[in-house]
């Protein structure tokens, strides 16, 4: 009975279960980051256009996802959509959808900010050599703004990854949820189990998030 709690991690199916939970966490986060990132760049470009109606709609979208807490968004999509629209998605898909829309909303603002920070003379020069509007974005604005948006984007990405820890609230069997099941199931045998399980989860999250920091550093230098 008096052995250290680390055994808990390696007992039975515990470790494979934790890693299975981690895979679900990574899958939700990765799909959201990639799909949301692409959508966010597109919307960010649209937001620099002069059309007032378009800007208003996109602003509304951004503010909705920025102001409403993620927990509320998850509950909205998980419980209220099925009730009012008869759209009953599995929990992990609801989570992916919410995180994608959230990523897109916040990314659109980062992209917009970066695009309008590209110096005006770059735009003028581009126009002077006869680029049309899409060429201007493709050759001048987007390449130059990429570097400007990197720090904020990396920040957003690690926020998305960390926020997946809320998924247990809508019963997604993510790494935190599996961890809690293991802790509760072994409460009697391993009273210190929580420390070890959360310790392992801490390391796992670090292993996912840290490469993004390294990547950002590298990209910033090049």
């Amino acid at each position: 009975m008096a052995h250290s709690g680390i055994n808990l991690i390696f007992e039975g199916q515990n470790l494979p279960r934790l890693l299975g939970g981690l895979w679900i966490t990574i899958r939700v986060a990765l799909i959201a980051i990639i799909a949301g990132g692409v959508l966010g760049i597109f919307l960010g470009v649209l937001r620099t256009f002069k059309n007032r109606f378009l800007r208003f709609i996109l602003r509304l979208y951004l503010e909705f996802f920025r102001i409403v807490p993620t927990v509320v968004l998850l509950f909205l999509f998980y419980y209220i959509l099925p009730k009012s629209m008869n759209l009953n998605l599995p929990a992990a898909e609801v989570a992916t959808l919410v995180f994608t829309l959230w990523m897109a909303a916040e990314a659109s603002d980062i992209v917009r900010g970066a695009l309008i920070s590209v110096p005006q003379h770059q735009v003028d020069s581009g126009l002077a050599i006869g680029l049309n509007r899409s060429q201007l974005y493709y050759y001048v604005l987007i390449p130059q703004s990429l570097k400007l948006m990197l720090p904020a984007m990396m920040n957003l990405i690690s926020r998305i990854i960390k926020t997946t820890s809320l998924l247990l609230l809508i019963s997604v069997l993510d790494v935190i949820n599996v961890g809690q099941q293991i802790i509760e199931a072994n409460q009697k045998q391993y009273p210190q189990g929580a420390f070890w399980v959360y310790g392992v989860i801490f390391v796992l999250y670090f292993l996912i998030c840290y490469p993004f920091s390294l990547l950002a550093k590298k990209l910033q230098k090049d």
């Binding site: 199916q13 509304l60 409403v68 419980y79 199931a185």
Partner: protein, 282 residues
């Protein structure tokens, strides 16, 4: 954007958010007969029953080392599916989203240590209970408390928000209550001798006393009995009737007694009899 249009954006955002949320309240949450996705025939047609269970509450619903869901509620859930002739799909719930899981059609039935209360009866339909709990009182074996009258003027340890706190506050005014925030705190307080006894749901106490043999459940049951029952979506008559028949049938077959012996007895120890927990009126 100027200040005026900014405030408009804000207002419209709020309106849009409300518009999203509103239909949920406007729509009655009863399942109507025409489109009842959770009726017995619909479940049989689908071939799976969606059951809400706890996955972190031993010994009722939890995951064992092999990664398999197990527990007293799970034993019932599997039996229900077997008798319906369908497969099971378990949906994990927490204490506070059991009602929503039913109302949003995430599950057909809740088997998650769901205590019947008047408030909950307004929003879901409970079938016949399959378990009972009530408030119990533990005390050191050396100075056992076996009657409420022994507590008069003494300090009793409880946790805030529990049925035990409610009962003693309302019904036993001459007992001094010491209120704590968590289970861990309350048990530590008892061990340190801060009160003469401790009151909580008796099922927790049985399990705790088993690991702390210096203490005994002196008062096994006090105050009103509370029942644990399966719940279905409000108005789902078809599944409710079927479940009631099922519970009666299982009771006759001594299913709950067997389930008690295999799932709960190892946790509760020998101080408890099956009849303290399960409902045996056949």
């Amino acid at each position: 954007m100027n200040r005026k249009s900014k405030s408009w954006v804000l207002i419209l955002t709020v309106v849009a958010a409300l518009a999203l949320i509103f239909p949920a309240f406007a729509k009655p949450t009863t399942a109507n007969a025409a489109s009842n996705d959770s009726s017995v025939s619909a479940i049989k047609k689908r071939g799976t029953i969606k059951i809400a269970v706890f996955q972190d509450l031993p010994p009722y619903g939890w995951v064992n080392k092999k990664g398999k869901l197990t527990g007293y509620d799970l034993a019932l859930a599997r039996q229900v599916a077997k008798d319906l002739g369908v497969k099971t799909k378990f949906v994990q719930v927490n204490a506070n989203n059991r009602v929503d899981a039913l109302n949003s059609n995430k599950v057909d039935i809740v088997l998650a240590n769901f205590t019947v209360t008047d408030e909950r009866k307004q929003v879901v339909d409970f079938a016949k209970p399959y378990m009972k709990v009530s408030v119990g009182v533990i005390s050191p074996k050396s100075k056992p408390i076996t009657k409420v009258s022994q507590l008069k003027g003494k300090d009793l340890i409880v946790t805030k928000g529990t049925t035990a706190e409610n009962y003693f506050t309302a019904q036993q005014k001459d007992v001094n209550l010491q209120k704590y925030d968590s289970k861990t705190q309350q048990f530590n307080a008892l061990k340190n001798g801060r009160g003469v006894a401790l009151a909580d749901d008796n099922s927790y106490l049985y399990a705790w006393v088993k690991n702390n043999p210096k203490y005994t459940v002196g008062i096994k049951s006090i105050g009103p009995k509370q029942y644990i029952a399966p719940a279905v979506k409000k108005g789902n008559k078809s599944l409710l009737t079927w479940t009631n028949k099922e519970i009666t049938k299982l009771n006759k077959a001594n299913f709950f007694e067997k389930s008690y012996n295999s799932q709960l007895k190892p946790y509760f120890g020998s101080e408890v009899k099956a009849s303290d927990i399960i409902i045996t009126n056949k």
